[in-house]
C-alpha cells in the first residue's frame, strides 16, 4: 500500500512536446508544435502509454498564415523511445484561445488579416479534428466572424 501511495504522491511537473500536421481552412497545410505542462508521478513513464492533462501552447505555421494558441486539454498518448514527445495521441481533447495571422493568397478577404477566437480540438487514434470560431481585427474584413476547421494527425 505504501509503495503505491508514495508513487502516486511523489509527483513532478513535466513538459511534453505536442505536434500536429493538418489540412484545413484557412491555413491549408500547416504543422503545429507546442508543449503541454502536466503533473505526473515521478516514477511513471509515458513510453507505452499514459494520460496527461494540463495547460499547453502551440505555434502552427501554415501555407497561408500562422496560428498561435494557449489552452487546456487532456490526452492519452505515448512517447515511445522519445522521452517527452507525445507522438502518438490515442485520444485527447483541447480548448484553446488562438490568434491567427493570414497572408499570401489566403481564402479570406482581405488576404492578410489578424483574427482571434477559440478553437476546440479532438484527437482519436492519432486523427485530429479541430473547429474554431475567430473574429477579425481588420475593419475591411467581410465577414467579421470566421468558422475555421482542420483535419489531420496529432493533437
Amino acid at each position: 500500500m505504501q509503495q503505491v501511495q508514495q508513487e502516486l504522491e511523489n509527483v513532478e511537473r513535466r513538459w511534453y512536446t505536442i505536434t500536429r500536421l493538418k489540412w484545413g481552412y484557412p491555413l491549408r497545410w500547416s504543422a503545429g508544435i507546442g508543449a503541454m505542462l502536466a503533473e505526473q508521478p515521478r516514477d511513471s513513464s509515458c513510453a507505452t502509454g499514459c494520460a496527461i492533462r494540463g495547460w499547453h501552447f502551440m505555434v502552427e505555421p501554415g501555407q497561408y498564415g500562422i496560428q498561435g494558441g494557449v489552452g487546456w486539454g487532456r490526452l492519452v498518448g505515448e512517447t515511445g523511445r522519445t522521452k517527452r514527445w507525445m507522438h502518438t495521441v490515442n485520444w485527447g481533447w483541447a480548448v484553446r484561445g488562438v490568434v491567427l495571422r493570414t497572408w499570401g493568397d489566403s481564402y479570406l478577404d482581405p488576404d492578410s488579416q489578424t483574427l482571434a477566437g477559440i478553437e476546440g480540438s479532438l484527437s482519436i487514434v492519432r486523427v485530429n479534428l479541430s473547429v474554431g470560431m475567430l473574429r477579425s481585427f481588420s475593419s475591411e474584413a467581410d465577414p467579421d466572424w470566421v468558422l475555421v476547421g482542420s483535419f489531420g494527425l496529432g493533437f
Partner: protein, 318 residues
C-alpha cells in the same frame, strides 16, 4: 450551414468509432513461460487508494446514501474511453507485466495474436494490453478495465431492469445484454473478436459494484457520516482462469481467424513446455463452470453463437 453539418457528421463519426477503444486486445500466449511477479497487492492498494480518495474528496459527506457513494466511486474508476486502472498499469514501475518497456512492446506489437492484419484493420490502431499476474492467474490489463467499466454498465442495466423479474430471469437477461455488447462495438463488430474472458471480467465487475452496498458485509460502510472502503477488498476474489485468453478461447470472425490461426499455431510446441503444462494443470484445477460458460454453451447449442472450441489452442494444435 453545410460546413456545420459536415463538421457535426465528422465529430459524430469520430466519437462513434471511439467506442472500439474499449476493446483493447491482449495475448496471453505471448507471455507463456515468461516470469511475471504477482501484482495482487499493488492492484489492491491502487483500488483502495483511489476509492478512499474519491470518498474523501471535497464532495464527501454529501453522499446521502450508499448508492450516492457508489456513483462517486464510479466516476473515479470508470472513464469514457481509456480506463484509469489500465493507464496506471501501463505507466507504473510497480506492476510487473509482459511486455515491459518500449523494446519489448515493439516486439509484442509485431508478434501478438492480432499482428497479422489486413487493410483498415481497426484493432491495429490500438495498443495491445500487456499480461500481468494475479493470484497465479495470467490476465490482460484490459480485463481490469472491463471489470470497472463494463462491470458498471452491467450494474446500471441491472438497476434499471429489476422490475418484478425473478433473480434467475434478471441474471439471464443481464448476461444476454453482456453477450450483445461483446457482439457489437465492444468486440465482434469492430475487432472481429468475441471474448468470453472479457465477459467474465465484466460480470465480476458487476458483482463488485453490487457488493459495495449489498450483502452481509458491504464493501462500503459509514462512520461518523463519512464513507469508508473495506480493507477486505481483494481483486484476487474476482479473478479466475477464465480471464486468461490462452485458456478461455475467444471466438473470431473468419477474416480475423485467418491471421490468428497461424500465429497461434506457432505456440503448439510450447504445449509440451513444463511451465505451460503446470499452468494449464493449475487452471484445470481452479476452473469452475461460471454463469457465462453456461449461457455461452446454451447459445452455441441453439446456433446463436459460434463455438469457441475450434479457436482453442488444443484444437488448433490437433
Amino acid at each position: 450551414m453545410r460546413v456545420k453539418i459536415k463538421c457535426c457528421t465528422i465529430i459524430f463519426a469520430c466519437v462513434s468509432v471511439s467506442g472500439f477503444a474499449y476493446a483493447l486486445e491482449t495475448d496471453q500466449f505471448y507471455a507463456w513461460g515468461k516470469p511475471i511477479e504477482d501484482s495482487t497487492h499493488h492492484l489492491n492498494a491502487w483500488v483502495r487508494l483511489q476509492i478512499q480518495d474519491a470518498l474523501d474528496s471535497r464532495v464527501n459527506g454529501k453522499a446521502r446514501d450508499c448508492e450516492a457513494a457508489v456513483n462517486m466511486i464510479q466516476k473515479r474508476l470508470q472513464h469514457s474511453i481509456y480506463q484509469p486502472i489500465e493507464l496506471w498499469i501501463n505507466s507504473t514501475d510497480l506492476v510487473d507485466r509482459v511486455p515491459r518497456g518500449i523494446e519489448e512492446y515493439q516486439d509484442y506489437r509485431e508478434s501478438y495474436l492480432l499482428s497479422r492484419t489486413y487493410p483498415l484493420d481497426t484493432a491495429r490502431g490500438l495498443q495491445p494490453s500487456p499480461t500481468l499476474e494475479v493470484n497465479q492467474v495470467r490476465l490482460g490489463s484490459d480485463k481490469l478495465a472491463h471489470f470497472f467499466s463494463e462491470g458498471w454498465w452491467y450494474y446500471k442495466w441491472w438497476k434499471k431492469n429489476q422490475g418484478d423479474k425473478s433473480t434467475e430471469e434478471l441474471q439471464h437477461e443481464l448476461l444476454l445484454y453482456g453477450v450483445n455488447l461483446e457482439k457489437w462495438v465492444q468486440g465482434e463488430l469492430l475487432t472481429g473478436v468475441i471474448s468470453p474472458a472479457d465477459m467474465e471480467a465484466n460480470y465480476q465487475g458487476f458483482i463488485f459494484y453490487q457488493q459495495l452496498c449489498k450483502g452481509e458485509k458491504p464493501l462500503l460502510h459509514q462512520e461518523d457520516g463519512l464513507w469508508h472502503f473495506s480493507e477486505s477488498f481483494d481483486i484476487a476474489n474476482y479473478v479466475s482462469p477464465e480471464w486468461d485468453e490462452s485458456w478461455n478461447a475467444n471466438i473470431y470472425s473468419k477474416k480475423r481467424w485467418k491471421g490468428i490461426r497461424q500465429t497461434m499455431a506457432a505456440y503448439c510446441p510450447m504445449l509440451q513446455d513444463e511451465w505451460v503444462q503446470k499452468q494449464r494443470a493449475l487452471y484445470a484445477e481452479l476452473d469452475t463452470q461460471t454463469p457465462i460458460d453456461k449461457l455461452l454453451s446454451e447459445l452455441v447449442d441453439n446456433g446463436k453463437l459460434s463455438d469457441p472450441l475450434p479457436f482453442d489452442i488444443s484444437s488448433v494444435c490437433n
